[in-house]
Symmetry: C2
Subunit: 117 residues, 2 copies
Amino acid sequence: MSTTPSLDATFAALADPTRRAILARLATAEASVTELAKPFAMTQPAISKHLKVLERAGLVTRGRDAQRRPCRIQARPLAEASTWLEDYRRIWERNFQRLDLLLDEMKAQEKKTKTRH
Amino acid sequence: MSTTPSLDATFAALADPTRRAILARLATAEASVTELAKPFAMTQPAISKHLKVLERAGLVTRGRDAQRRPCRIQARPLAEASTWLEDYRRIWERNFQRLDLLLDEMKAQEKKTKTRH
């Protein structure tokens, strides 16, 4: 049984659209809390709360500049989450292949019906 | 801003080690709740609670057999989560490359120090 606490924290942190949007923003460049709060209809304390969750999960670090304390994305936990999901790739690819086969069968059936009429 | 509710539910469902272990078990074959509960030090109601979270996230479906109602993994939400994470691959790969460079520099430095003594 996988009891990796970091995976727990990473997935929990990603289960919120605002936190995912913060990461998407930080993927382009580092930003202060004020800069991060701008595009959201949210107060700075609300954004700070989300940032704390991201920090605890190791997905964001804060710079040392006392005034700005810029936020930076740390992608390592995302790499670990991606590795975990990779184990299931063969399952979803098998399912997509089945769906493709089904669609092909349906198309062939449709063609047959059309040529009959 | 990504407000995909299915991503919220998927990541929240994956934020628990028992639920990840249930998915790992179901990735090998379908199983009844009784079969799923066996390897865990957990009661069937506790397992059923976790299964409900997985079902709501669309990660598990139950068969129609009234007695057994076998659980099956549905990997499509995992594929969606993987696609979301893929956008960040360039970031973690860049970081790993930086780490490699740093290690190379450290090795070169070590070699230099050794040849000097």
